[in-house]
Amino acid sequence: MIPLSWYMVLATILFSIGIYGFLVRRNIIIMFLSIELMLNAVNLNLVAMSHYLDSLRGQSFTLFIITVAAAEAAIGLGLVIVLFRNKKTVYVDHINELKG
């Protein structure tokens, strides 16, 4: 039987990697990917926990999170497209006019 902590460790590592990718990558699309990684980490956490808690709460939550992730992806990519239309770039460090 697998202890819950294994899942959590895995989830945490995944989450951290997601954060890492999110922080360091220039390409906005890859940043989105990293967000997905984070969300997946969370999902993993939730599912594992709900499994060990004998409840479906976490799993249902996971479901919602996935939905939201989809919606976010749609809007996010929409924004990227607009950006690309305007400035022909998908690099996060090219959008730094607003500062100070």
Partner: protein, 479 residues
Amino acid sequence: MNIPFTLPALGPIMPEMLLVCMAIILVAVDLLYPRKNKLLSQLVVLTAIGMIIMLFKQTPAVTFGTMFIVDPYAIFFKIICLFGLLMTTLLSGQYLKIEKISQGEYYSLMLFSVVGMMTMISAGDLIVVYLGLELMALSIYCLVGLLKNDWRANEASLKYFLMGGFSSAVLLFGISLLYGMTGTTDLAGIAQYCSEAGILTNPALLTGFALVLCGFCFKVGAAPFHFWIPDIYQGAPTTITSFMSVAPKAAGFAVLGRFLIMAFPESQEQWGPIIAIIALLSMAVGNIIAISQQNVKRMLAYSSIAHAGYALLGLLTGTSEGYSATMSYLYIYAFMNMGAFAIVILLCAKGNRRESLTDYKGLAKSNPVAALLMLIFLFSLTGIPPTAGFIGKFYLLKAALTAGYTWTVILAVIFSAISAYFYLRLIRYMYMEEPQEQFVTQYSPGVTAALALSAIGVIGIGIFPGALLDWAAGSLIGF
């Protein structure tokens, strides 16, 4: 086997549902009658007013298990949000014409975001909180990005999106930890389990708490999670900025307050000081950086960071007095900030947004009325009597002092003295410099109404704050 499915009571959630319907109707109307812009805004205004009345009439109730709580607290905050919606709509008419924003989606998205806010305000369960939050956030991402050909708006929306995504991921991770530790996402349940199992000081739990806290702090724009505010406020369409500065902030505070006091009532001495630090940090960042700003919207953005800090002063006490202080403060803040942004919008003209501080030079000469109003709002933001801002600040300080946070209060006071500096600078520009360009501002009925409303609010509450304060205090009975 089959489980009988019973529809939960929908009465409490009626306003939200109506708003959703309204939003959809708006899209439809926009599609059917493309050029009926006035109609749309009037519809929204009516809806907002109707909702406010409806909320006043609403009786406390709990439905969807414990997921949706309608209590005076929630009603209070919902009214703030709707007020924000109302004001924004009043301001929008003129602005949208100038900026050429397609109206249907604009209003419906705004309504959707309000629905999200109202949901998260009433949420008794972290899942609902999260979903409401996302509903709000997603619609606002779109709203910010509505000016598609304006790269600033574009940049703003993307930045907001990225940071928002990050913060909600963090929030979720925190929620997952809380869920694992307590086996529930229901706020009251969490509190109950924690006290039963005596895990209040468990690092894992606290970490989960901390992550959730960070998520909410991001939403209310408190340091060190404030970075999005200046850029987004500056880039977004001004109406949306004013909207963001009032409604989502209020919602964020509502949910933060609920979270703190419902889920972790017993560990106030843990989170109190931490929130105090966050509050002071926000005041420091907001007030100090605002000094060196050249763009009005940006300056107001920093000031809103600082004001978030002030508002936190009330929450950190965990006392009902503190809570009512924060509530009344947010309400007052809605008035004065809306007013300030109304002036910014008033000055905004086609091709020249007049957002730079230097555009305000000699405003007192070119448009005395606008200048006078701006003066009132700015002094209110500074917290000088007899404006409402002072009452709010006073209440907060008093609450924090009563709770024994003397040094926090003294520092807060010093920061607000610093804040006077940049508000004064704008006033100086308006009253003590010579105008650079002569321009006339046309007062559309909407803007006029908004200005009148906020001016009356600022002065009225400043002189007769009794009603508001009693209402705020009353909203906490049995909370």
